[in-house]
């Protein structure tokens, strides 16, 4: 090297901008990653509802031959995998990854490459699941029980593809959660103590912790399954020391946690919407925050609620019942405080609030049905019937579809700079309400009254469930229509929706302080946070300082 003096400052110029899609695909920006996750999740929502529709077509009439038994089992397995790993979880985590750092006033995330890797793994998981579809998809079910998943019973590569796919996706979620958690812990704006953190960001914190625990458990279980299948392992195989029930424990810990995670993110988003659209602060913030954390812990500890029929001691079943019923207290407190926030407010019944109220209503029906499912002896009758299918779907459609669409309508202006169409939103909302009720109420009755079992590719004539199933299949078409309308609305609004301002709803939290869509660095100025409602403080300060101080701030109607 030469000894020539170097200038202290070298300006190479800005790096050349590459094509838009390359920039997006290689971006470490939490907003780009969040957007990809959310749009991908919505795409998979479309695929999942088509799979549901095909299964309902097969089950429209008794002993139908529309799908083969194996074809139905494959559809079922794909539907479960898609719905959980490629719709509900990425939608919740994607929204949180986009919004939560903005809400706490962070200028980016702490470990962006981790988030980027997470997205890559998730995409890889999706590719594996659906490329498996082209040769031999798994036919082992939504939560495939060992030893059906052992090579002795399903020797083709379907189960390997499933395990690889959901394993990659889960690992991706774990990495994103680590980044989100680090950001939320370390990069909050000055003055934003935990007690002032927006409730959705708090939900993201709790949900990320939860994902670290359940993700680890599930990844371990999947690894053991892969060893069993490919390297002569015996973890879940009967005999020579293996234990089929071990898989049930591990997988139910994960799936119960996932159920809670969807609920926690939904409650967080609903809380933001309810406060913004009522103009009130959240009723009893601290109780809601504690309750969300309690839901994560208690709900996951209730995993053996799914194992009431398994050969485990009755004490474990009572423990699971205790945990399931204890969940009434935190969930009840959250719901009570959300409704109490509405009371005394001035409600603007726009699409986000409409979807949020619908989400609360459906979640209440689903969780109420779970109370019945939690009673040990009652579950001996209704467990693994379509009544359980209906309960799960009410909660998860309420949380992930209605809660997700509420959040999408609410944050769409921030993410795209445009507002989602209100009319289509309303049409979609009512179509979806009708679709969910017409599909799953008859299935609940078929399970409760006639004991129709889950996951079966056909039912027999004369078992008294013909009418229930036909109505449910008609309902699935309505559900499909509702989802298509919302997706069309999102795409259309993305292209040509009315331009939104930076703060279209008059929100209280910091994401509304920045541009729509935000610059890569999120904020030019960082605010000093003095309360849980920093944007309201800012608006009040401006109103106070302007000469025309007699004008109340609330008079300024939102732009869109």
């Amino acid at each position: 090297m030469s000894e020539s003096p170097r200038p202290e400052l070298i300006v190479d110029g800005f790096p050349r901008k590459r094509a838009h899609w390359i920039e997006l695909a290689t971006s470490g920006d939490h907003k780009d990653i969040g957007r990809i996750l959310v749009s991908g999740a919505l795409g998979f929502l479309f695929i999942a509802v088509i799979e549901l529709l095909l299964m309902r077509l097969q089950l429209a009439i008794p002993e139908n031959k529309f799908l083969s038994p194996v074809g139905f089992n494959r559809m079922l397995s794909l539907y479960g995998g898609t719905g959980i790993f490629f719709f509900a979880l990425p939608l919740a985590i994607g929204l949180a990854y986009y919004v939560a750092p903005l809400q706490v006033g962070a200028r980016g995330t702490a470990l962006p490459r981790l988030g980027q890797t997470g997205l890559g793994l998730w995409v890889a998981g999706a590719v594996v699941l659906y490329s498996g579809f082209m040769w031999t998809p798994t036919e082992a079910g939504v939560n495939p029980f060992a030893p059906l998943t052992e090579t002795a019973f399903l020797s083709n590569n379907g189960v390997d593809a499933w395990a690889t796919s959901v394993g990659l996706a889960t690992l991706g979620f774990v990495l994103i959660s680590i980044d989100l958690l680090t950001t939320l812990r370390n990069m909050r704006a000055p003055g934003m103590a935990w007690r002032r953190v927006p409730i959705f960001a708090w939900g993201a914190t709790v949900g990320s912790w939860l994902m670290l625990f359940i993700g680890a458990v599930f990844l371990a279980a999947l690894t053991m399954l892969m060893i069993d299948r490919n390297y002569d392992g015996i973890f879940f195989a009967d005999g020579s020391g293996g234990a089929p029930l071990l898989w049930q424990h591990f997988s139910w810990i994960f799936f119960s946690g996932t159920y809670m995670l969807v609920l926690i993110f939904a409650f967080g988003a609903i809380a933001e919407i309810v406060t913004a659209f009522s103009g009130k602060p959240l009723f009893n913030r601290s109780a809601v925050m504690i309750s969300l954390a309690a839901i994560a812990v208690i709900g996951t500890l209730a995993w053996m609620q799914n194992m009431y029929t398994a050969p485990i001691g009755i004490g474990w079943k009572y423990f699971a019942m205790l945990m399931s019923l204890a969940l009434i207290v935190p969930v009840g407190l959250v719901v009570f405080n959300l409704i109490a926030t509405l009371v005394g407010g001035v409600l603007r019944m726009r699409a986000p609030l409409l979807f949020a109220v619908g989400a609360l209503s459906l979640i209440s029906i689903g969780l109420a049905a779970e109370i019945q499912q939690s009673l040990v002896a009652a579950a001996w009758d209704i467990k693994n019937t379509t009544d359980a299918t209906a309960a799960t779907h009410f909660t998860l459609i309420g949380g992930a579809v209605f809660g997700g669409l509420a959040a999408l309508h609410y944050w769409f202006p921030k993410m795209t700079g445009r507002t989602m169409g209100e009319t289509l939103g309303r049409i979609s909302f009512w179509t979806l309400v009708v679709g969910v009720l017409v599909t799953f109420v008859p299935l609940a009755f078929a399970g409760y009254d006639e004991g129709q079992v889950i996951d079966a590719y056909k039912f027999f004539a004369g078992s008294g469930v013909d009418a229930y199933n036909l109505i449910a299949s008609i309902g699935a078409f309505v559900l499909f229509a509702g989802i298509v309308i919302s997706l069309v609305n999102a795409i259309q609004s993305r292209v040509s929706g009315p331009e939104a301002g930076h703060d279209p709803w008059g929100g209280d939290t910091l994401e509304w302080f920045t541009l729509s869509p935000p610059e890569p660095h999120n904020f030019d100025v960082l605010v000093d946070v003095r309360s849980p409602r920093p944007m309201r403080d800012i608006r009040e300060a401006i109103a106070h300082r302007t000469a025309s101080a007699e004008l109340p701030v609330r008079e300024s109607e939102p732009v869109a």
Partner: protein, 232 residues
Amino acid sequence: MAPHSPGTDQIDTLLVIGFIAAAIVVVVINVALLYAVRRYRSERGAEPRQISGGRGIQFRVAGVLTLFAAVVFVLGIVFTDKARETPATGDAGLASLKSAPLEIEATGQQWLWRYTYPNGAFSYYKLVVPVDTEVKLKLVSTDVVHTWNVPDLAGKYDAVPGKVNDVVFRANDEGSFEGASATLSGQAYASMRTEIEVVSPDEYEAFVEKQKNEIEEAQERVVGLIENGEVP
């Protein structure tokens, strides 16, 4: 489900209790939601009340919720325990059994149930049991997890390979009761059904005797055919 055993009577009661609890939750939440949404729809000039609650009301609400959960939990335990207690064989039941239940092995296999009776006879798909008799099914599996499920007579239980799961029930009435397996077990899962025929003790004893004889006859016939060289 139409209960035909003491155990399923208790299950039925608990189902109703669970249904009432669920109905209360659904009605309270949805009425409150509808009221809030209709009553506080925005009006010109209305100002949102900036109230954020207090500790008192949280503790009261939490207290009510805890009480509700506790009541449901206690009822759950009480009726589950009642459902698990199957009364011993009654007067109309199998007389040869005094205190011990009639033990039958139920083997789940893809995609059939096989029942082995105490005298060594067995039957597929259809289980014949005497009325008013305490029956203990020992559920086992030879391959994957199956769920044995005849809702009119007993609860659901899993047959897990390597484990034994007990189902105890006592049928009140004679008749035929159908059930379908309730855990996905592969291709023909939907067809994996079973039927329990509840008969009088005499008919039961005649059935197992006949079944045993027929199995032995069939066995001898097969051996005979092979020894005579009629089958290779």
